[in-house]
């Protein structure tokens, strides 16, 4: 016998309206409450913001502790992997060090010259202060590529601040709580950073691809971008200082991809950077 429309409605009613055994809340009631939270969240309702900040503060700490065993397994796996390729790495690093030593003196000279020329041009110089922060949560969900750090408004962290790993840019602060903050990684689809490509001083916008690399957007086809060109922040928009290294261009058939200098899976400590304009 074919189930009738009434049977379907009765089953739906029974599933959503009837309070199940040992259930304190009705499913439909909670579903409506969730929708209400989503809608109020969309319109930045103050009470929802407070609720979010409170949950953030508690959950980030608990989550940090809860993810310790899994983190430990991950670190051990990587440690073993590093041991296996230790000797080859050592030889490569030795060669690289020799090259860098010879470049160092050249850099010191160029830095001094750059400062002098900026003074002549009356350009702005930046001095930076760094706050070291520990990464509490670094889970990469398919929805958002972000990390949580253990510094917040208590440590003068503000939205939009640059976050570095060594001296490379890894993302910017997008959410600030009292003792924690969320950093949107460069690899997130929603991350858009104004950049300069050198050599050539070509301006572009760098967006994440949702994986572990970036894509250059809003760039004309006739601009000659060489493979392995370096991508820096351009400083346009005034949020980030210009000249922070980001990654290297890897050319594909249709687009210019950027391989980031930062390995997003290895983040333990990061630096949140405050840039202060210096008077010439």
């Amino acid at each position: 016998m074919e189930p009738s429309r009434d049977d379907f409605i009765i089953a739906i009613r029974s599933a959503f309206l009837k309070k199940g055994t040992k259930q304190r809340f009705s499913l439909l009631g909670l579903l409506f409450f969730s929708i209400l939270l989503i809608v109020l969240g969309k319109f930045n309702f103050t009470a929802i913001n407070y609720l979010k900040i409170t949950i953030n503060e508690v959950v980030y700490r608990i989550s940090f502790v809860a993810s310790l065993p899994e983190k430990y397994i991950g670190y051990s796996y990587r440690a073993v992997e590093e041991h296996i390729r230790f000797y080859n790495d050592y030889n490569l690093k030795k060669e690289e060090l020799e090259k860098l030593k010879s470049k160092k003196y050249e850099t010191i000279f160029l830095e001094a010259e750059n400062k002098r020329l900026k003074k002549v041009l009356n350009d702005i110089n930046y001095s930076s202060e760094l706050v070291i922060a520990k990464v509490l949560i670094d889970k990469q969900s398919p929805f958002l590529r972000s990390i949580i750090i253990n510094k917040g408004s208590k440590n003068n962290i503000n939205k939009g601040m640059a976050v570095l790993s060594d001296s490379y840019l890894l993302g910017k602060v997008v959410e600030v709580n009292y003792t924690t903050s969320r950093v949107l990684l460069l690899s997130d689809l929603n991350s858009k950073i104004p950049v300069t490509i050198e050599p050539g001083s070509i301006q572009s916008i760098l967006s994440g691809d949702g994986e572990n690399s970036g894509v250059l957007q809003y760039i004309k086809d006739n601009f000659p971008i060489a493979d392995e060109s370096i991508v820096y922040t351009s400083g346009t928009g005034g949020l980030l200082k210009s000249g922070i290294p980001i990654g290297k261009i890897k050319q594909n058939e249709n687009q210019n991809n950027v391989n980031f200098f930062v390995d997003f899976s290895q983040l333990r400590y990061v630096k949140v950077s405050f840039y202060i304009e210096e008077k010439n």
Binding site: G41, S141, F143, L189
Partner: protein, 170 residues
């Protein structure tokens, strides 16, 4: 007497295991993303299975709170995961109501339909309502592996259920 008391505490803990695992999984965001090619939504599997087979083992209120925690950990707008989880409970409750003889394969197929609906709603809400870009491929991979892994976890849960929830099944 004390032996009896100890046994009842252990029994209670074993019965609470699905709820404990749910909270660990949302706090720890178990998704196997570090394996690069595999990504799955473990809470979907857990909530669907236990809501279907032993609905009283996970309270709706607890599921709602787990959703809020997941939103905070993954950085989604608050309420989205709670809505998804409760929607899964609703689909599971519907299937439970219309099924006379439970069958793992039928549950599995209906699970695919459920996660397709739930992920579609998430995609729509995030994209239209919050203007958040999502990678469609990542989402598809997530749905695919969540579906594939359901049958594996369902069998593990079934063994667990038969062992520790036996007397209430009879």
């Amino acid at each position: 007497m004390s032996e009896f008391k100890k046994r009842s505490i252990v029994n209670n803990l074993l019965r609470l295991a699905p709820l404990i695992i749910l909270y660990i999984s949302v706090l720890n965001e178990i998704d196997l993303n570090y394996l690069k090619i595999i990504s799955l939504n473990f809470p979907f599997i857990l909530i669907y299975y236990w809501s279907l087979r032993k609905s009283e083992s996970l309270g709706y209120g607890y599921i709602f709170v787990a959703g809020l925690i997941n939103d905070v950990v993954t950085g989604l707008p608050i309420g989205i995961s709670s809505f998804n989880y409760l929607l899964i409970c609703g689909f599971a409750a519907y299937l439970r109501t219309i099924t006379l003889r439970p069958n793992l394969i039928k549950d599995w197929v209906f699970f695919l339909f459920t996660i397709l609906v739930v992920n579609s709603s998430t995609y729509s809400v995030l994209n239209i309502f919050f203007s958040v870009d999502l990678d469609y491929n990542n989402l598809f991979i997530n749905i695919f592996f969540t579906f594939i892994f359901y049958i594996i976890f369902a069998n593990i849960f079934l063994i667990y259920q038969n062992k520790f929830f036996k007397e209430s099944n009879d």
